[in-house]
C-alpha cells in the first residue's frame, strides 16, 4: 500500500485521535521525538535525531511511587500510562527498542513500568534513503531500510511511502489509515553506510578474552567521564532509584544513570570497583559488544553513530572495534 506524502498530516491526525504521537522534530535546536503538534510536518529527512526515542519508554526521570510517612504511611504506584505512537523511527532506533525489550522484559523479572509503556506503544519505522557520516548500522547487522520489529514499516518512494504492516498492531494502523492508502508498491533506495566497520567473527567472545588487554588503557584515556554517550545512546538503559521527600510526602523515582560517571559503581562505604575511567570505558564497551550479546544473542550497539558524533573527546566506538579486531588478529 502507498501513503501519499501529501496525506501525511491526515495520517498523523488519525493516529493522534487515541494516542500521543511522537515524531522527529527539531525543537529549539534539539532534534528529538516530540509530541506532534498537529500542524508541522515531522522532519523525516533528518538522518537521526540528537536524542534517541528511548525516553518514550524509559523517561530520563520516571516517578514510580508516591508515599507518605508518619502515622498514616501509605505507598501508591504512579499511574497514568497513555497510548503512544513513535512515528518515523529509523532502523537503528527500532532495533534499540528490541534491545531494551530484551533488557527490561526477559528473564525472571519484568519491569512493570517499562512493560506498561511498551504495551501501549506502536512503532512506525521509516527506511533510510541515505546514511549520515556517523551511521554504521549495517556493520552491526542492521538494514538501514528495514526495521523488522516495527509495527509498520514505511519505505520512502519519493512522493509516497510504501506502507507495510509487520505486526497485528501494524495491521490495525493500516486499518485506521484505510481511507488514505492507495494500492501500489515500489522500490525504495537501499543505501549503504559510508562508515564501515569490520567486526571479526566471534567478536564478543574474543573481546571478553581481552579483559586485561592494554588496549583499554589506550582507548579510555581521552574519556572525560561525562554521560553524553550513554544519554544519547538509544540502548543504554541504566538507571538509579532515588526518593525526594517533602515533609511527610515523598516520591520514589528512577532516572537515567551513566556507567561513565565516576560515582556510578561506587558502593555505600566508598569502595568503587571501577575506580578509573579505564575500568568504566571497558565496562561500557564490553557491555555493548560482549556481555549483552552473551545474554541476549545480539550486540547492544545499533550503529546509530550518536555517541561517535557527540563525544566531547571524539572517542569512536567504530575505531575501537577496528583496533580490537586488529589486536585479535595479532593474537
Amino acid at each position: 500500500m502507498l501513503l501519499d506524502k501529501k496525506r501525511l498530516k491526515e495520517a498523523l491526525a488519525i493516529l493522534s485521535r487515541d494516542a500521543k504521537v511522537l515524531v522527529p522534530m527539531e525543537v529549539d535546536g534539539v532534534a528529538k521525538f516530540t509530541p506532534w503538534d498537529g500542524q508541522k510536518l515531522p522532519s523525516l529527512d533528518m538522518i537521526n535525531t540528537t536524542l534517541p526515542p528511548k525516553d518514550a519508554l524509559f523517561p530520563q526521570t520516571e516517578k514510580m511511587y508516591n508515599f507518605t510517612t508518619g502515622p498514616n504511611a501509605q505507598i501508591a504506584e504512579v499511574q497514568g500510562t497513555e497510548k503512544q505512537v513513535l512515528f518515523g523511527v529509523r532502523s537503528c532506533d527500532a532495533r534499540s527498542i528490541d534491545c531494551m525489550d530484551k533488557a527490561f522484559l526477559t528473564g525472571t523479572f519484568g519491569d512493570s513500568f517499562y512493560s506498561k509503556k511498551r504495551e501501549n506503544l506502536t512503532i512506525i519505522a521509516v527506511g533510510c534513503v541515505k546514511t549520515g557520516p556517523f551511521c554504521f548500522c549495517d556493520s552491526m547487522g542492521l538494514d538501514p531500510s528495514s526495521a523488522p520489529n516495527a509495527d509498520v514499516q514505511l519505505a520512502d518512494l519519493g512522493d509516497a511511502y510504501a506502507v507495510t504492516a509487520q505486526t497485528e498492531r501494524g495491521t490495525a494502523v493500516l486499518d485506521q489509515w484505510k481511507s488514505l492508502l492507495t494500492e501500489g508498491e515500489g522500490d525504495a533506495p537501499k543505501p549503504k553506510c559510508v562508515l564501515q566497520v569490520s567486526v571479526p567473527e566471534d567478536f564478543p567472545k574474543k573481546l571478553m578474552g581481552m579483559f586485561e588487554h592494554p588496549i583499554w588503557d589506550e582507548v579510555s584515556k581521552p574519556c572525560l567521564g561525562c554521560g553524553t554517550c550513554t544519554y544519547v545512546c538509544p540502548t543504554c538503559y541504566c538507571f538509579d532509584i532515588n526518593a525526594e521527600k517533602h515533609g511527610h510526602e515523598g516520591t520514589e523515582f528512577r532516572c537515567w544513570d551513566s556507567c561513565m560517571f565516576s560515582d556510578y559503581a561506587r558502593m555505600a562505604g566508598g569502595h568503587n570497583p571501577r575506580p578509573s575511567k579505564k575500568e568504566r570505558v571497558r565496562n561500557r564497551y564490553l557491555h555493548k559488544l560482549a556481555y549483552f550479546h552473551e545474554q541476549h544473542g545480539q550486540l547492544l550497539c545499533v550503529g546509530c553513530g550518536r555517541c561517535v558524533q557527540k563525544c566531547p573527546s571524539n572517542m569512536d566506538i567504530t575505531r575501537f572495534i577496528d583496533m580490537a579486531g586488529e589486536a585479535m588478529n595479532n593474537g
Binding site: 534539539v30 581521552p222 572525560l224 561525562c226 554521560g227 532515588n242 525526594e244 557527540k310 566531547p312 571524539n314
Partner: protein, 283 residues
C-alpha cells in the same frame, strides 16, 4: 610548507626529543580520528609515536584537564597548550591541583580553531606560560565584545530572562560534560553528585538543571579562564558561556579588570578575598 605544517613538524621533533631524553614520561596532544575534521586527545609515550601528534585547525579540544588523571606523576607530563590551555594549566596550579614542576608545557601559539564559538572571544592566543614554544608568537587581537552577549541578555525583562533560561535548562540532559571538561571544576566530589546532602536532586527537570547550571556558573565564575570548553562539549549546544561570563562581567565592574589564569600566581579568586573598599549595596 605552511606555517601550521611547519609547527606540526617542529612539534613532533620537539616531542620526540623530550621523550627520547626522558624529560617527560609522555605527551598529551592531539591525534587523528577517522574523520579529517576531527582530532582526539592522544597520549604519546614513545619517541617513535611522536608523529602521531597533529597540529591543525581541528585541534579544538582542551587538554589541561587530562593532567589530573595521572595521580602519581612519576615523570613530568608533557602537554601541548594553546593560550586557553595555558590559562587552564595556571588555574590548576593556583588551585593546587598540579605542581608546575610536574608538567612540561609545549606552547603552541594559536590563531583560533575551527570552532568559532569557542575561539571567537579569545584574548590570549599565545600561551601565557610554557617551557618550550613551537612556532612564533602571534599577534593578539583585543576583544571588544567580551560581554556583548551578556549585555544583550541583561536588557531582557525578568520574565524574558526566565523564559530564556528555562528553555535552555529544559534541554539540559545533565551529562556533566561541561563540568568534566572544565579546568576550573577540580572538586574531588562535585556538589551535583552529592544527592544525599541536598545541594541537588537527581531528577532531571528544568529547575534542577537550572540549579545545577546556575550553581556551576557561580562556582566557576570567579575563576573561569574562558576557554569555552563547556560550551563546546555540550551535546545540547547550550549557551553556557553566556551564563559564566555574567559573573565575570560583574566582577570586572565591581572589583576591577579581571582575567583568570594569566600567571601562576593570580590574585586570589574574588570569592576567596575581600576589600574594605568593596561597594556596599546592602545598607
Amino acid at each position: 610548507m605552511s606555517q601550521v605544517n611547519e609547527m606540526q613538524a617542529q612539534l613532533r621533533k620537539v616531542a620526540a626529543e623530550l621523550l627520547e631524553n626522558d624529560t617527560v614520561g609522555y605527551i598529551i596532544g592531539w591525534g587523528a580520528t577517522r574523520f579529517p575534521d576531527r582530532t582526539t586527545p592522544v597520549f604519546i609515550h614513545e619517541a617513535k609515536d611522536a608523529d602521531k601528534l597533529m597540529w591543525n585547525e581541528y585541534c579544538v579540544n582542551g587538554l589541561a584537564k587530562y593532567v589530573l588523571d595521572d595521580k602519581i606523576k612519576a615523570k613530568k607530563i608533557g602537554i601541548c597548550i594553546r593560550g586557553c590551555d595555558s590559562r587552564a594549566i595556571n588555574r590548576l596550579i593556583i588551585d593546587n591541583q598540579i605542581k608546575r614542576e610536574n608538567v612540561y608545557l609545549i606552547g603552541l601559539p594559536c590563531e583560533g580553531k575551527a570552532d568559532k564559538i569557542k575561539c571567537g572571544k579569545c584574548a590570549h592566543k599565545n600561551p601565557v606560560i610554557h617551557d618550550v614554544l613551537i612556532g612564533d608568537l602571534v599577534a593578539e587581537t583585543p576583544v571588544t565584545d567580551r560581554f556583548k552577549a551578556v549585555e544583550d541578555q541583561e536588557k531582557l525583562t525578568s520574565d524574558e530572562k526566565h523564559a530564556y533560561w528555562k528553555g535552555v535548562y529544559d534541554k539540559c540532559i545533565r551529562c556533566f560534560a561541561c563540568r568534566n571538561v572544565c579546568p576550573v571544576c577540580s572538586c574531588k566530589e562535585c556538589f551535583a553528585d552529592q544527592y544525599r546532602v541536598g545541594w541537588q536532586g537527581k531528577q532531571n527537570n528544568s529547575t534542577e538543571n537550572w540549579n545545577y547550571g546556575l550553581t556551576r556558573s557561580y562556582h566557576v565564575g570567579d575563576r573561569c579562564v574562558e576557554c569555552g570548553e563547556c560550551e563546546r562539549v555540550c551535546p545540547m549546544d547550550l549557551p553556557l558561556m553566556l551564563q559564566n561570563r555574567k559573573m565575570l562581567k560583574d566582577i570586572n565592574e565591581l572589583f576591577g579588570d579581571y582575567e583568570c589564569g594569566l600567571s601562576e600566581e593570580d590574585r586570589a579568586p574574588i570569592l576567596g578575598d575581600y576589600d574594605l573598599s568593596d561597594r556596599d549595596e546592602f545598607m
